[in-house]
Symmetry: D2
């Protein structure tokens, strides 16, 4: 089966292959009368775009998005918004070899096994190129959420090198090629990742995404819990192997008192004294910041050979030439933000429909 | 919004509150002509049932399931299967106090914020009692999957005490009250959890679920990836804060060669030399065992007081009396298995419809 | 496949067989804080209940509905509402013969062909008994719509005998066993239907349902148009073969000017001068009354023999003994109202979520 | 709300406005390894294309479809198929007036009421131009169904002029500009429609669509019945006001024996002696031809003035200049076929997934 839509009321359907003529998405369910133009979307695509440093793939594409429907005189109309990016730098000659072999860690074998056919050029549908449309849809989702909701992501770990949590500074995120919130980690990562790249190797990473200003009450228990939908959305990103909300796996080692987020009243408002829960209880937002983290495995495309098998059923050594990110997790930062935005926009509309106003 | 259905072709809708007259579920989309009776479901419910050791809540209910539709002369008919469990031991007097205060870590405040009303008795809809119906539905899902697919879960961590991975023995899981696969950890956990219980505290845990015999090709890219659906399903379980597939968060620290699951041919079959990916690539099963882990936070109900607020907007100290599991993660083992079974059954039917036979 | 849920935000899942232990439904997505008790639902079930005149089946069941979840202290909580009716008068001896033969016009052959198994007792899942749960769900939907929306149905044709449209009086509908809005047609139908019944035959009917007070703006273009959803919902009722909105098939013979619903302003409001469109344009409600009509074929169960085939593949003559409505269309009136209510409640919540307040 | 997707396993999402830059659709869930190219789709678009006779709008567009994803080396891959048609002949100057007034019978007022904004150019999203993408998707659906299923449509009534049923000849349908299966009606319609056009008026029509070779067992009771899904799909076509299956409304006047489709065995097969049911019983296909009819109201765009209101709240007379079909029902024939194809393809995949092979 193929299933390329997510969301209930804010629904995003993506299409397109890495080396096909174009990629695109349809955003259905966006409320009307929101100001929207290509200029609202393009900056987010630019943040994700490859080729901006030596640490991301050298594939160079302008990734210019075009709005083909759903916007009239600069405003959304409530009809589906079609977003399209033409593929311009396809260079399919780089990928000819992978037609005959299955790259370990990639979807090659799985797609072949499932469909009996695959567009092997650049990974086809399973390429991370698809995430460009997530980012585009996320930009629309931000308009739905409005200025009161702020969604930001940062890279917090590359390999075994973690940021210093006590040095976290959101303003730093845009100042380095890693989306790092800690300036002291930047030279460490530069040196480490430079060595990884020279060795033709790759490495994993952890991304954290935080949404502030999210009103309490979002979430659709039991099987559309906000954290469950977030977990599914983040896990659907290419190469992601783990997701946690709030303190996540660490809570397994906590006792009850260590885990409890105590509350008190302050000026007539409920104030939390900690946020181990990551802003979600019972699948519903509490008004605290929503905090999610996810792990991205090392880029499977490497110059270091790995034993594998061929379409013809022979043992082979696979070396993946071409242009690849040594740490695909870096560019996953804007993608994670986009998924957070889409899930929140969807839940905002669901909540408003069934329970009341935002 | 409320959303109480999961699955696309194998769809489960649950209903019921902890202290309402009954709880139940409707399993829609089960194929016809499968042998099914209450005896196929009851053993799984019995494994999850409370009151079986001093480490789980002393609430005692037989949890006898009744099939009310969809089965004729011992066989499924292809029509919806209604499963109902009457609530017999409701003792609502235990829970009277929580009507006026919000228990930290529980869904109380979130439900009140969202709906403006809540059935506070025993947590109402947000109670882990709902998971009984997940287990019942999971038993039906196992019939759909057939005997070739084996799904097993185990507890691998309580607090900071982890099992010895090199001592893993599935046969031990049924021999102790913890679903522990390692006999040497049992006395450690007994002593630790006994102290936690006496202190009126609680603690978190980690569960691992493994599905063997799953055919390759299950998964619906891009937004119904098998791992994404699993992540959402497991995160939707009460008190779960984190999910990982295969090596999960550990992959962030791996290099590409460390993470790669090399392959070779053996007797005409593709053999993997490791399973860091947990049996899923590109959102599609590879034929290897599907491996998922999830963290359950400490039980929020404790005898140790926590600062909180009341419905009336006053600062209070909350102590949750009544019968509670000191480690709710223990009983999450059969629930995790059930969610794995439901997700796989759904994807099996989706795959068969669109791509071909099982 | 089996698919027993309808609606997007106001979702109804029904289950149960004619002669199983019980039938029921789960209403998910009902907003919180609506007053609801069995007394709000029972009167609608009583209107549909068989055995109330010689023109409906003599099966006598109290059809007492029980709310098993989703309501707390007389108010909806926003969690799923489980409604159950125990089957009390099953008398399966009446139906023993149909196990071996396929009754023409019934679903017997189709279910056997699809599923390879069927609960033949009283038609099993395909029995019109399922419509009791539609009526129950419809009663909940009316609470969602509120008192400002009035939904009423009437029988307008039995066989070739149509009501006099110029004599339409809603107050008459409750005064006769036919839900007839025209008192002059009542003796005509009584005599006609008495003869049909004595002959062991049956006859078809047409029902009209009108919803007044529906706000403009409901409808989800393009594939959730209000009229499309209504058509699907009404066609899903047992034995329905045709649906029309507004003037329906008659518009095929109209010219443009005859069909146009002219408008003018009156006290700052748009006033329509006619309602050929039945209150829906472009799939969206206009504020005019929503008008739908549907045709119910003759009851397929008759004492008059019809050539058919047996499970064993032999030619047989089928006579359906037992208790049957000579005109099943009569009891379809409250069912049609219920489907209208459910569709409107669903669209009200969808509209409110995405576009604004009611 | 906006909802622009239909189908469960074979899912079609359309987008685009009449005078936007392009229109398109995404077909998700198409099985892999089906031969597909633009040449398989274009002929169906050509049948629907305007400007082919004096009886359809003179808007002239080549309507060249482009496959942008989901096909590799001439075969479907199982990934979403994106189909796009650029709008070339937009001539928006024709439609400037309708920005300020609401055309009776059109969606203008309803969209304005719902969304508070509308793309008025050519009807925007509510234009019948959207149906081009239905036809394109229908061509893909035909590949899913294979050559064993034949779907054909015909025009059977214009105004009060019906075809002679006893003269029905499918071969005639392609021989005249009306899709008429009766050559004797052609001159009647030509003369009648010519007069309608000269008068600046319009007229309604009835279309019949028949699917032969459909296997028994398709349909998803209770809320995905084949006839219910067909009714919803056909009613969703622009200007459709009524749908019937088999003998439809006529069955209301039948007695049971008149309506019964008797069966007998012939060479080990069940043979039906009539098809009043239109090939569907209990919502499931029986193996007989599926027969559906739908009514299209007169084109609302006319040169004859109709009283209406303006955006500014004033009484006006609306005359719709520009290029319009005097009988929009003619071009609805290929659209009705396409909807039948899509619904059947969806149900084929659903059936195969849950119950067994085709």
């Amino acid at each position: 089966m193929s299933y390329n839509t997510f969301g209930h009321m804010f629904r995003v359907t993506t299409w397109g292959e890495s080396h096909g003529p174009a990629i695109g998405c349809v955003v259905d369910g966006c409320p009307p009368r929101l100001a929207l133009s290509e200029q609202d979307i393009q900056p987010f695509l630019d943040r994700r775009r490859p080729g901006q440093s030596s640490f991301t793939t050298q594939r160079r594409e302008p990734d210019m998005v075009r709005i083909c429907s759903g916007v009239f005189e600069g405003m959304t109309t409530g009809t589906p918004i079609s977003l399209i990016i033409e593929n311009t730098d396809q260079r399919s000659r780089d990928y000819g070899e992978i037609a005959q072999t299955f790259r370990p860690g990639h979807a090659d074998l799985a797609y072949q096994s499932k469909y009996g056919i695959r567009d092997y050029r650049g990974g086809g549908r399973s390429s991370a190129r698809e995430t460009a449309m997530r980012v585009a849809a996320g930009a629309v989702a931000r308009r739905v959420l409005g200025d009161g909701v702020r969604i930001r992501g940062a890279l917090v770990q590359i390999g075994q090198h973690e940021i210093g949590r006590n040095r976290w500074n959101w303003d730093e995120v845009g100042q380095n090629p890693f989306f790092a919130p800690d300036p002291e980690i930047v030279p460490v990562w530069e040196e480490y990742l430079g060595a990884i790249r020279k060795a033709g190797s790759s490495v994993g990473a952890v991304i954290e995404v935080v949404a502030e200003g999210v009103p309490s009450g979002l979430g659709a228990p039991i099987y559309g819990k906000l954290d469950a939908d977030l977990a599914g959305a983040l896990m659907s990103i290419n190469a992601v192997k783990a997701v946690e909300i709030g303190d996540g796996f660490a809570t397994a080692a906590y006792t009850g008192p260590e885990n409890a987020d105590a509350m008190h009243m302050h000026d007539g408002q409920v104030m939390f004294e900690s946020n181990h829960a990551g802003g979600i209880l019972g699948g519903i937002s509490t008004g605290q910041p929503i905090v999610a983290r996810f792990a991205v495995k090392p880029t499977s495309s490497m110059l270091i050979p790995v034993p594998s098998v061929s379409l013809a059923g022979e043992d082979v050594q696979v070396v993946t030439k071409g242009r690849h990110d040594p740490c695909v997790g870096i560019r996953a930062v804007p993608v994670g933000e986009a998924m957070m935005a889409c899930v929140l926009a969807d839940h905002l509309l669901r909540h408003r429909g069934q329970v009341g106003d935002f």
